[in-house]
């Protein structure tokens, strides 16, 4: 009976895997077709072509847009990690006046929908004189969510570890760096991935805040390939694939470290 159950569950998981992956396989396959037969579902190898990708990469500025996006995303990740770990540590383990209240206020900022504050945010950024700068793309990236995650992770660390480090004479900074951070690696990695994805896929904000080609990010640049009434599904899918790949690769790279992180943090599997 147990074996049957296990088998059924395994089958179920296989279905889940398929449901999750197939749409992306479809996306990639569609991107390899030229416009003509895009709704034609024969996947004969001779009909596949890279012409959509050629269109995308033909643009000489493509490399610059790609680098812009990577730069903004990675800078965003570091900034978010820095701000979230420090604040998460303080809220979780340090005693100070207003700890709970301030944390609550920060969490409340998560309730603000980003699409609606586009116009006021533009006003704020313009007031700071940061239109068309990388600052404007990177600095708004950290959110209270990061603090939330890190605080949650740090709360789980036993106080005894911290106490014993204090007894050894470590300062709070040293405690953070040597004791706490190694134990929350998996949370940090999770946060990194989420931040990278968010920064990478960000479209409307970079659109509004940058007018100069030099600052264009990749998703933005890809939309300029689309003329008004174009129904080039193949091209759309190719753009989608190109936009999809970097976070995917970032994830694969961190994934291996992710596993190691979970092991190191003293959690049992």
């Amino acid at each position: 009976m147990k074996k049957v159950l296990r088998l059924l569950i395994s089958l179920f998981l296989i279905c889940v895997i398929l449901v999750c992956i197939l749409p992306f396989v479809y996306m990639i396959l569609m991107s390899l077709k030229s416009t003509i037969n895009v709704y034609d579902f024969r996947f004969a190898l001779d009909e596949l072509s890279l012409q959509q990708y050629k269109k995308i990469f033909a643009n000489p500025s493509f490399v610059r847009y790609f680098i812009n996006s990577v730069f903004v995303a990675i800078a965003g990740v570091f900034l978010t990690l820095f701000t979230s770990c420090t604040a998460g540590y303080a809220f979780a383990k340090l005693k100070f006046k207003g700890n709970d209240k301030i944390f609550l206020c920060l969490i409340l900022t998560m309730l603000v929908p980003s699409e609606v504050i586009l116009v006021p945010l533009y006003i704020v950024v313009r007031g700071l004189g940061w239109v068309n700068t990388f600052k404007a793309l990177i600095l708004p990236l950290p959110t209270a969510f990061g603090v939330f995650i890190m605080r949650q992770a740090i709360l789980a660390i036993p106080d005894e570890l911290i106490e014993s480090a204090k007894i050894d004479g470590a300062s709070s900074m040293k405690i953070l760096w040597s004791v706490i951070l190694p134990l929350v690696k998996s949370a940090m990695l999770t946060l990194s991935i989420f931040t990278f994805i968010g920064a990478w896929n960000n479209f409307t904000w970079p659109l509004i805040i940058t007018t100069k080609d030099a600052l264009r990010t990749l998703p933005l640049a890809l939309t300029t390939l689309k003329a008004q009434y174009d129904v080039d599904v193949g091209l759309t899918m190719a753009c989608a694939t190109v936009t999809f790949l970097p976070p995917f690769i970032f994830y694969l790279i961190l994934q291996s470290k992710f596993e190691a992180g979970v092991a190191l943090s003293g959690m049992k599997s």
Binding site: T35, I36, Y39, K55, N59, A75, F78, L79, F82, T86, L118, V119, Y122, I123, R126, W130, V131, N132, T133, F134, K135, A136, I138, L139, S171, S172, M173, K174, F203, T204, L207, I208, T211, D213, A214, L215, L220, T223, T224, L225, K226, A227, Q228, Y229, V231
Partner: protein
Amino acid sequence: MKKRLLSVLLCAAMVVGMVAGCGSKETKSEGGKEEGSSEKTTLTLWMPPLDEDTEGNWKPLLEDFEKENNCEIKFELIPWANYEEKWSTAISNGEGPDIGYMYAEMYPTYISSGAVVDMADMIDDATKEEYLYIDRGYMMDGQYGIPIVTGVPFVLYYNQDILDSLGETAPETWEDFKRICEKATQDTDGDGKIDQYGYAVGLNSGDMSNLYILNSYIYSLIWQAGGDIYADDLKSARFNDDAGVEAIEFFKSLQPYMPENVMSISGTDAFTTIFAEGKAAFGVTRSSQSHETLFAESYPNLKNWDYVTSLKNKNYGTFGAADSLSIMSTCENKELALKLILYVTGSEFMTEYHKVAPGAPLTKSEAYVGDPKMERIVTEDRDKWRPLQVGPCGSEILENLSSHIQSIMEGKMEVKEALDESVEFANETLDEYWADNE
């Protein structure tokens, strides 16, 4: 303790400084550039992608103008996605262009806010003669735009093979159209399911704006019935009058001849996956001077086709946008700006540009470049299509109408009921507007 506090603050400062450093580098190098070119006038031009490499195609053509007039043209390509958002945020903060490409739905707010310049006094009669579509840029009592992309109305394409097999010729009236649709909707391969439709229509608006439905299918019917969206004084909406109701009821009556999933697919999907695959007698899409070549290449299953520019009920009528270039009020050198607009819509520029990206000729001196089959749209049929009335709160009223059309086609509301509700909303909105703007 002091040390750590300091080091924390230093870290923070470092990160901010590092990021700030990147930003300031940008502004520094910009500043240098500005100083160098301060003797020349700079004109900033915002264009959307009109072809695969609009910037690449335009820049060389603009060089002559730049030399002749000792100016520099800053060309900025604004993607279609979120086009209006980009515009409004920029203009609200004084960061708009000198000249920009705008379309009918955008104009009302900009005109009533005084953001675009009335060029009526700046244009002489000779120019009006030469530029064929200039009167279509006259809206809300002013010459606010000069059309640059026009002559590509939405026309009714038909599948010649299907019509032949039914013993029919090109429809001229609504009765013709309906009759052919009815005959065409059938099960051609005998499997019990209808696989050939009369009219390939799609009403999902995810891909394009909600107004696409109106552009493709609705304005034409309303205008052919003799109606319109606004009353002449632009103070109220009239599309629930007899003509409007007749038009929409006719559209609804065609539903049995449309694909079953008409509500889920978009208009463009309906055209490319149903009509272009030879599975429907009629389909609507925006025409193009290169359709003959395009269809031959992309749609092998659509072997013989043609089109009717417009059916006739009381009148002819179908929607053809007149997207225009406008001068923004913040422009410092309006004469030069107008000169540039007339230059880029003029025959010298357009003859060259249309070789790369086909379009209708905008001036008398420009020769028609494109597929011969599509030529009659801009010659004998030119009066059968026209752009929208530009009126206040246009976007809002039309989006609301679009959503009511969807309700009607879904069977959730009756035609008269829905149109009345939509006009009520429109009138409320217009009342609010006119109360502030009298």
